[in-house]
């Protein structure tokens, strides 16, 4: 058993040394493999980051009640007390039209905005935090609140987040599809690399078979070659996506700032990285195994 492990270790070392010794030849297939892997990875991270962000948005869904322009203090007090006693309302804050205007001015640096306007166009508003986060309950509450006297509209903030969720779902499907397609590509690319290697080392394989090499002995260096190639490609793909994220994040942050949001793409977690590397190694070895089985049978010992 120890001897067996030793043979494998020796094979693995030799294969890695070979890859490192021919950087140009290995680089080409390595580049192909890592780009093939970086594509679905980047898409995956983008989709997951958006999902995280949308998740944060909808975590505390809020309903905004806009009062009619003609609403008086008494109307506001009535709505206020209705909200206070409503069982499905957890809490609420009142934002007067005056406060809303100053907020707007402050936010956009538009001092004296009102001067050109005929009075304050903004309505009084309540921001309501519902007790239940269940979508059905939320919808019901929204309907009830919009029925209160002098309430112009009850806006459910998360409705557009729902639409975003739909897009995230689409993105997820796309990622799965891309990952599958490129997994096949990964198998085919390694299959081809190993096939070329086998053809280049025909004589060695033939002579080895003549003097008693088993099939597994002959396969072993090719499988290890593929294993290292898959692992290296996985690492390079990880580096590529990390670089992409580092480049994209400032631009995204700046864009999000315009909407007062904080959005950023996240990198791979250690678990995800391990999973990606594991898959890369598995698929590459599979490609090599298929190539070896197919072509070693042709290089016959006789």
């Amino acid at each position: 058993m120890k001897h067996y492990l030793f043979l494998h270790w020796q094979s693995a070392r030799t294969a890695l040394a070979k890859i490192l010794r021919q950087p140009v030849g290995s680089l080409l297939s390595l580049a192909m493999l890592s780009i093939a892997m970086a594509l679905p990875l980047s898409l995956y991270l983008t989709v997951m980051s958006i999902q995280d962000w949308v998740g944060k948005l909808t975590q505390t869904p809020q309903i905004t009640l806009f009062m009619e322009q003609s609403a008086e203090t008494a109307d506001i007090a009535a709505v206020s007390s209705a909200l206070k006693t409503h069982p499905r309302v957890k809490g609420y804050t009142f934002i007067s039209k005056k406060q809303a205007l100053t907020d707007l001015e402050k936010r956009n640096g538009l001092n004296g905005l009102t001067e050109g306007l005929d009075g304050n166009p903004l309505p009084d508003a309540f921001v309501v935090t519902p007790a239940s986060l269940e979508p059905k309950q939320l919808e019901l509450l929204q309907k009830e609140l919009s029925g209160l006297p002098m309430v112009e509209e009850a806006q459910f903030d998360a409705s557009w987040a729902k639409r975003l969720y739909g897009m995230v779902d689409l993105g997820k499907h796309l990622t799965v599809f891309l990952a599958l397609a490129l997994s096949v590509a990964l198998v085919l690319i390694t299959h081809n690399t190993i096939r070329m290697q086998i053809l280049a080392r025909r004589d060695e394989i033939e002579v080895s078979k003549l003097i008693g090499a088993t099939d597994s002995f002959i396969r072993r260096p090719f499988l290890y070659h593929a294993l290292w190639q898959g692992l290296l490609a996985g690492l390079v793909a990880w580096g590529l996506t990390a670089w992409l994220i580092a480049v994209a994040n400032p631009a995204i942050a700046e864009f999000a700032q315009l909407y007062n949001e904080r959005v950023e793409l996240r990198g791979l977690s250690p678990l995800e990285l391990a999973l990606v590397l594991g898959c890369a190694v598995l698929l590459a070895t599979l490609g090599a195994r298929l190539a070896a089985d197919h072509h070693l049978r042709r290089v016959s010992a006789n």
């Binding site: 001897h3 030793f6 060695e204 002579v207 003549l210 003097i211 008693g212 099939d215 010992a301 006789n302």
Partner: protein, 217 residues
Amino acid sequence: MIQFDQVTKRYSGGVEALKNLSFSIDSGEMVFLAGHSGAGKSTLLKLISGLERATSGSVMVSGHNLSKLRGSQLPFVRQHIGVVFQDHKILFDRNVFDNVMLPLDIIGFDRREAARRVRAALDKVGLLGKEKVMPIRLSGGEQQRLCIARAVVHRPAILIADEPSANLDRAYALDIMELFKSFHQVGVTVLISAHDETLMEDYGRRILRLKEGQFTA
């Protein structure tokens, strides 16, 4: 050690290379195999080393019935036999040392012990000074010695040589024969084929004479 029982070998083309052959070779014996080109010498040797399978009859080598062995078991039979191939089968992409190292790699020797054995084998055939040389730069006789070194480096119990003295001048051919005799003297079972019977007669060993796949007296 080696026992053929009514062995017939028919190639896929329909050629019957060996016809109903029976003979045996004892452990530690040194035997010659003579016959003209096409007589079936190489075929007989390939049956012993498991490179070809008998069409009928049984081939016993070191207690294994090769005709009954599964294909996946044949490599292990080959690992216990040293073969000097008629067409050498030298790898020209690596130096002398690495050529001789190959059988030990296949068996899975510890590197340091393997290197020691490779040097010992090269020393035995007189190529120790050329271990770093590429085989293309060796003379025909030296290439033959390289093949012999590779055949004996893992110290097989059986040594098979297919026309090891072909294309060599007589003095050199005798040198090679002496080399085989020295292996025989340390207990290896040796089987050597050749066209030229005069080389064999000096040794007073048993000679199997093949003609069109059958033994002649």
